[in-house]
Structure formats: structure tokens, C-alpha cells
Symmetry: C2
Subunit: 191 residues, 2 copies
DNA sequence: GTCTATAGCAGGATAGAC
DNA sequence: GTCTATCCTGCTATAGAC
């Protein structure tokens, strides 16, 4: 009777995504996933080799979405404005999908190293930063921007900002960073 | 014959710390910990209520160490130089003790909210940032600096910078951030 | 204060029938 | 392609003897 197969990779993945988004990585386990799909846990292995494969697929999904978000905000009047808008959009995505976003920075090989959506995302941000600093392939500045964005996301998620937290602080720092990176120098010593 | 008790809270904690530092949080489990101490797992519960108590004690230890590191580098010729030096010291500590550092930002109540070593650490950085921006209690700017520092640590640990990664990028961004925050304005719009 | 013994839970994954 | 049945591993934590 199970002629129209109950399961398709897409169905599984979307259920898995819901589990992850609702309850974090630990909530995405094979048994609850199967239950939500009305299926036995072992059936899932016909479609995904193991749990890691599911997570990997979700990570790709998230990367593509974040890339699309970035691209959608990258065209502003000035390079600084573009980077500013993209920063806000990045934060917004991470806030909307915290657990999905969390997959993006699990220990792995660098995005910039291997082709794929991750590298596309890196390149998109790199181009924006280059436009601001005026230097081609400005890896160091891109890393700085990325560190700031990611750090803010993590701090906020860890609860450090509390309920009435200084969320306006995000733009203050982003602005300062863009300004500071934009100046030709970078040669002012610490002293 | 076990007159000199085998276990003391300090002994346990230092063994626990080693497990954590060597293998991350998952490596700190009660059975291996007991084995390393030549003891049965159940014996540990005489000294620490549960595993969470161990982690909490280690977190306090790490916070105090990081605070000491910050204080040791805070006295430079100028406020900017102090913040710069502290930033480097912060990164160095996180690199030296990645898993211990990792305990510091597990989801919890904000450091700035409740008295304790965490709040002391926050206040120490806050004072440095205030001196740079010229504003008292400049929470927003402090958050920005902290986000940058933490974000860089996490990105680096996640392997994003590879082996020959742009570690010099850290100072570039830190410098830019300090400069940008130091300017009176912050009022320059994104456009 | 340490021991033995064990309860209890959750998780990933596989073998083989249908 | 889904099922039943099960294995295996890992973990925290407790009860009660000594």
C-alpha cells in the first residue's frame, strides 16, 4: 500500500530543518525525525547515509539563503552603505534562523579554500569590503568584518545583551569598523 | 587504608581541566575523569554535586584568568594602546585555552547583570573602552569591541583562516575599530 | 570517603523479513 | 522502500555495602 513512497529527500530535509530550527542541533535526531514523518527510524537511512549527511545538506541550504540575502542588499549608493546594509541583513538572517546559522561555522575547512556556496558567500562579502577599503582581495579587512558580524551574533545569542540589551550597539560598531577600514592608513601604531 | 583521602576538590578540578583542555567539553565526562584519578565514578559525587558543578567551577577559573590577563596588559601609554594590548592578550588567552575559553560564552545571564568575576571582566573592558571613546559607561562601544574579539576567536577556531591564514588581520581590524570608535561622531550616516 | 553494582536514558546505526 | 527487532556505545546518577 505504500505505493506513493512516503519519503522523499526533500520531505525529510524539511522536517529535519524544522526540528533543528525549533530545538537546536540536539533536537535533530533520527528517532524524533522519523516519528514526525510517520515512519520508522531505519527508513531514513535509505535516503540519507547518516545524520551527518542531513546536517550537511541543511548547512548548504543555509549558506545559499544567506548568500541570497547578502546579494539582495549589496546594491546601495556607496560601498560603505552597501556593506552597512549587508551587515544588517546578515544579522537579521542569523536572528531569524539562529540554529541554521549555527551550522555555518562548525569547524571545517575554510570557505575561501574550496569552491561551493560557502566560497561564493565569502567572495560576495570580499567584494563589498574591497570596494570600501579600495584594496583588491583585502582578505584581512574581510576577516575583520566577518569576525565582527559573527561575534555580535554569538554574543547576542548567548544572552549577553539581556532583554533590553544594547542592540543599537551593532550599528555603532559596524559603522566604526567601516570607517576605520576605509581610511587609507591602517598604519597608525597603537602608541 | 585510604586514610589520606585520594580525592580533593582541587585534584578533581585540575584533572577535569586537563580533560577539557585536551579534548573539549565532550571529553570531560565522569567515567574518564574517575579513571584518570584512579577512582570509581561514583566517588566524584562526594565532592561535586554533578557534572554541571565541575563545568561551572572551571568557568569561574577561566574567567579569573582572563581577567588577570586583561588587567596585566591594561596599563599602556594611551587609552588606544591599552585597548590594543588588551585585545591581543585576549586573543592570546583564547588561543592558549580554546576549550576553557569556550565555557565563557555558553548561554547564560549577561555578565554585566550579576556580580561576580564575569562582571569584573566586563567592567575592566568597559573602562578601557570608555577611555578610548571618551564616553562614560559606553556599553555600545564595549559590546562592539567584545563582539570583534570573540568573533575573531571563533572564526579562527572554526578553521576558517586555514594554516597560512591572515592572522595579521586581527590587528588590522582591531586598529580600525579603535580608530572608528574613538572619533567623536559615530554620526556619519551609511549613505 | 570509596567501593560494587546497577538503574535509566538517549543516541546512531544495521540485519533481514516483507 | 518500509518494516520489526535489535545491537552497541556512551553518558549521568543513585543505592547501599564497607
Amino acid at each position: 500500500m505504500p505505493y506513493p513512497a512516503k519519503l522523499h529527500p526533500g520531505t525529510i530535509l524539511s522536517a529535519a530543518r524544522q526540528l533543528l530550527e525549533d530545538g537546536g542541533p540536539e533536537a535533530l535526531s533520527m528517532r524524533p525525525l522519523a516519528e514526525r514523518l510517520g515512519v520508522q527510524p531505519s527508513s531514513l537511512y535509505r535516503h540519507y547515509a547518516d545524520r551527518a549527511a542531513l546536517l550537511s545538506a541543511l548547512e548548504t541550504e543555509a549558506t545559499l539563503e544567506l548568500l541570497a540575502t547578502v546579494q539582495a542588499h549589496a546594491a546601495q549608493a556607496t560601498p560603505a552603505a552597501s556593506l552597512h546594509a549587508v551587515g544588517l541583513a546578515y544579522l537579521a538572517y542569523a536572528r531569524q534562523h539562529p540554529h541554521l546559522y549555527g551550522l555555518l561555522l562548525a569547524p571545517k575547512e575554510p570557505y575561501m579554500a574550496t569552491p561551493g556556496p560557502g566560497k561564493d558567500l565569502w567572495n560576495a562579502v570580499l567584494a563589498l569590503v574591497d570596494a570600501v577599503t579600495g584594496q583588491p582581495d583585502d582578505t584581512a579587512a574581510t576577516v575583520a568584518v566577518w569576525a565582527y558580524l559573527h561575534g555580535f551574533v554569538v554574543l547576542e545569542r548567548s544572552g549577553q545583551f539581556g532583554l533590553s540589551g544594547p542592540r543599537g550597539g551593532f550599528e555603532r560598531g559596524l559603522q566604526a569598523l567601516i570607517e576605520g577600514l576605509g581610511r587609507k592608513g591602517g598604519d597608525a601604531g597603537p602608541g
